[in-house]
Amino acid sequence: MSKRSTMIIGSYRQTEENELVKASLGGDKLAFGEIVKRYQKMVARTVKGMLGDSVFAEDIGQEVFIKLYHSLSEFRGEAKLSTYIQRIAVNLTLNEIKRRKRFFSMFSQKGNSEMYEFEVADHENEERREASEIVNKALMRIDPKFRIIVTMRMLQGYSTKETAEILNLPLGTVLSRLSRAQDQLKGILEKL
């Protein structure tokens, strides 16, 4: 990226979200680039938390932002932009899980347990690597229906109400899934 574009991106750092959306709607690459930079970690937590740290997760991450760009005109600003992006990320990730399930059920009798190859990034600190490993293994072993709740709660730090809003689920459903997810997690973590 040229020095000039880096400077322009720098000027967008303080820009309000709605201004970035307006500029992006006008085809401003740099404004949309700033949106991507602001939310890529959030999307990575959802996508990689759900799918594992694979090349597919990166592709789904890109798809999330491409879909966001093409649906920005539908964003009315009633919800936060982060919620809107999060919904796209959740939908695309769940679709990918369904697609993989179909694919693996066609070609394998081994079930889903082997579909997620998790590569943990190199960490200098062994303890940090271990923490990452425990979280990722727990996430990959839990039922996808509960995994999304765990991801929203544990990795994104969303409250029950925010989780319900993003997943478009009644609060009661989220609460019952939280409790069932906790039971499953206890069983999984005991074996780790």
Binding site: V36, D53, G157
Partner: protein
């Protein structure tokens, strides 16, 4: 943080009265962080705007095809109207026979015309 503490934290994050934001922050401090590879935003922007050029080109082609179709269709309709008017003026009606150029001629007269008898 010891593995047992991490496990407690994970299980505790599912409690209704837990502070999930705090747990997420603690886990991140312990190395549980996620991000895409370097240059992710540039790759997204490239994909969006390169695809945009293709879409614009496709849209232009479809638009040109549509306008060409409308021109041809309108000319065709105009030609049919002119033909009907000329038939009506020449034959006095726009019946099926006059449309086929048979006018009011009888079968016998056609046979005479064709055979010369």
């Amino acid at each position: 943080m010891k593995p047992s503490e991490i496990k407690k934290l994970i299980i505790g994050s599912m409690d209704v009265d837990a502070a999930p934001e705090e747990i997420a922050r603690k886990l991140e401090e312990e190395g549980v962080s996620y991000d895409f590879s370097k240059g992710f935003s540039d790759r997204v922007i490239d994909k969006i705007f390169k695809a945009g050029v293709t879409i614009v080109r496709q849209t232009e082609f479809v638009r040109n095809l549509n306008s060409a179709f409308y021109r041809v269709a309108l000319t065709g309709v105009a030609a049919i109207v002119v033909l009907l008017i000329s038939i009506f003026l020449m034959e006095g009606s726009i019946s099926f026979n006059s449309f086929l150029g048979l006018g009011d001629s009888y079968d016998e007269s056609i046979v005479c015309l064709l055979t010369g008898n």
